[in-house]
Symmetry: C2
Subunit: 352 residues, 2 copies
């Protein structure tokens, strides 16, 4: 080892889902939205003045913060924006989880949580989900340095009821509790109404799923002004100007179009219902999905072999080679046409 | 204090230059380029397919990495990109400066260095520039956990000769040495040719100055593949998808147009020469500038009062209320027309 390598931080990075660039592939592996962003996004882009790119963007991201505050009935000082919800969560771990006690999150959950904890050398414990993949709220009653969980959970797609979410927050008022609501627009109840009651609650959401803007990298956190100020202080200690001019301008358009938002979310939920029926008919089982994906297993059919066979045909779903869930596939809800092609393959593969 | 506030990271954030939104202001305070980005940027934006925004961007930012590698005669595995050079430097501090020994950087320098060190609790020492604001290379011969300095330096605009830069690298082959070349296209010699000789050297540059793209947030680092891999590992442990689709696509256009790049840099250097003469004629003194700004002082004229008077007239320059440099103003080189307005004011203010 060369001496300068001694000081390099050793990490085991998060591995994102594949981003293959094949024509005509069916991409159901990274929970993207099958529908384009709101029509206003294209119009706004066409009218952007590229000459202004020579200037720094607004470091406070005011237009986007204002649009989100209005949409959710909050004050601007209750909203923080970042480069996707991963950026927001990375900042939140760095800002709020500075304790010798372990941060708590479920054993089966968004796999980035342990990566951030390892990156910053934050101790953590991962209470196991129960047999039905549900979070056991009692596991979060012990002393800890913070709590984070997704609702609905990933990759299970299971939502926890708001009273259970509140129970966990109520038992942890001495630490910051982050509810990661990347998928909340597709099902489940948001913890947003609890912001008035719990000043230690941070709710994180994203433009990558329900707003069809994964490619623009926009995420946001909502919480009481003290939490948001702490997040902004750390952001200004990391990179003052995180949101580029296009993200600011186009993000506003995506927030403004409530009609289009409801329409596309509605279509995805309808396709999810049809997908559930068809999966059941083929003998698949799955926890009740509330997100834009289904976590499905088929007794007697090896998940990894099926994953590979699908990939062979340019149908991409997500497989996690991880204990307890290695017989499951996470299947994103695409368009009806995309799901048709998936089922055409599955019927053939399973000799139905 | 509420109990959950105990675990919040305490920081003193970097304070970016003001971003006022006044019409007709003369903005010479954040070293932006007065000319628009390359014409290809506008064309590329008009032809972007917003429907694709629903998909995640390429996490490896391959098109942009490839364009930069080609431009600088490097391999792709020698180039790392981030959300502005601040993002690149924030990742570099986190990746490379993990030692109990202090990181070294000059006392008068980019003020973000100490902010990153404080954020990550990295020990540091700041050897003083000499009376002429030059880096004393001997100050960097002592044991340390890493070295970083800008060349040309900010806010002084002074460049260090390549042999002195090499001398510092040669004396520090056991740690990572970062040369922050945000302004190198405007003057001074890049350390890039030294990459072949020193595997512990990282050179950081940006699209925000010479490429007129501050608003798009693109920065990059160049170094040997082991350093670039370590940076990417940390990036994938922080946020897999940092560069949005517009930054990737428009960034490539900005790199490709070498003719436009040379033309705008040439215009700024010519204006800098004229500005030097006019400042001298008015009794200002300044270190020889190599960047797109001049760090000027006028014996007998209070810098802070002048800064305030300029601001009154919507002419923005940068003032640092910091020991040793509190009688200087950092003046960005704008267009000739903008500089005319500055001098019109100065002549009047100084009763010339």
């Amino acid at each position: 080892m060369r001496p300068w390598e001694d000081n390099i931080r050793k990490v085991v990075p998060y591995v994102p889902g594949e981003q293959p660039k094949k024509k005509n592939m069916i991409k159901l592996n990274t929970n993207e939205n099958p529908y384009p962003p709101a029509p206003g996004v294209e119009e706004a882009m066409k009218s952007l003045d590229t000459d202004r790119f020579r200037l720094y963007p607004d470091p406070a991201a005011d237009v986007l913060v204002a649009a989100l505050a209005e949409r959710y009935g909050l004050e601007k000082n209750q909203v923080f924006v970042g480069v996707g919800s991963d950026d927001v969560l990375a900042m939140a771990f760095l800002t709020f989880f500075n304790s010798d006690k372990p941060v708590l999150f479920p054993d089966i959950s968004y796999s980035f949580y342990s990566v951030w904890a390892d990156l910053y050398r934050i101790p953590y414990e991962r209470p196991a989900l129960d047999e039905a993949f549900c979070i056991r709220k009692e596991d979060y009653y012990k002393e800890n340095g913070g709590v984070i969980f997704p609702n609905p959970n990933a990759p299970t797609s299971l939502a926890m009821g708001l009273s259970d979410v509140e129970d966990i927050i109520a038992h942890n008022q001495d630490v910051v509790v982050i509810v990661d609501e990347a998928y909340i627009d597709f099902g489940g109840q948001s913890a947003l109404p609890l912001l008035e009651k719990y000043e230690n609650l941070l709710v994180v959401q994203t433009f990558s799923k329900s707003r069809s803007m994964a490619g623009m990298r926009i995420g946001y956190a909502m919480g009481n002004p003290a939490l948001i100020k702490a997040l902004n202080d750390v952001k200004y200690s990391f990179n003052s100007y995180t949101m580029n001019q296009t993200a600011l301008c186009l993000g506003v358009e995506a927030v403004k179009d409530e009609v289009y938002f409801r329409e596309t979310v509605g279509k995805i939920k309808a396709t999810r219902e049809r997908t559930k029926e068809r999966l059941s008919a083929l003998g698949f089982v799955y926890p009740e999905p509330s997100a834009n994906f289904i976590f499905a297993s088929r007794p007697g059919t090896d998940a990894k072999a099926l994953f590979e066979a699908l990939k062979e045909k340019d149908i991409y779903v997500r497989y996690f080679n991880v204990p307890r869930i290695d017989q499951y596939l996470r299947i994103t809800i695409g368009t009806d046409e995309q799901m048709d092609k998936l089922f055409e393959f599955l019927k053939n593969y399973l000799n139905h």
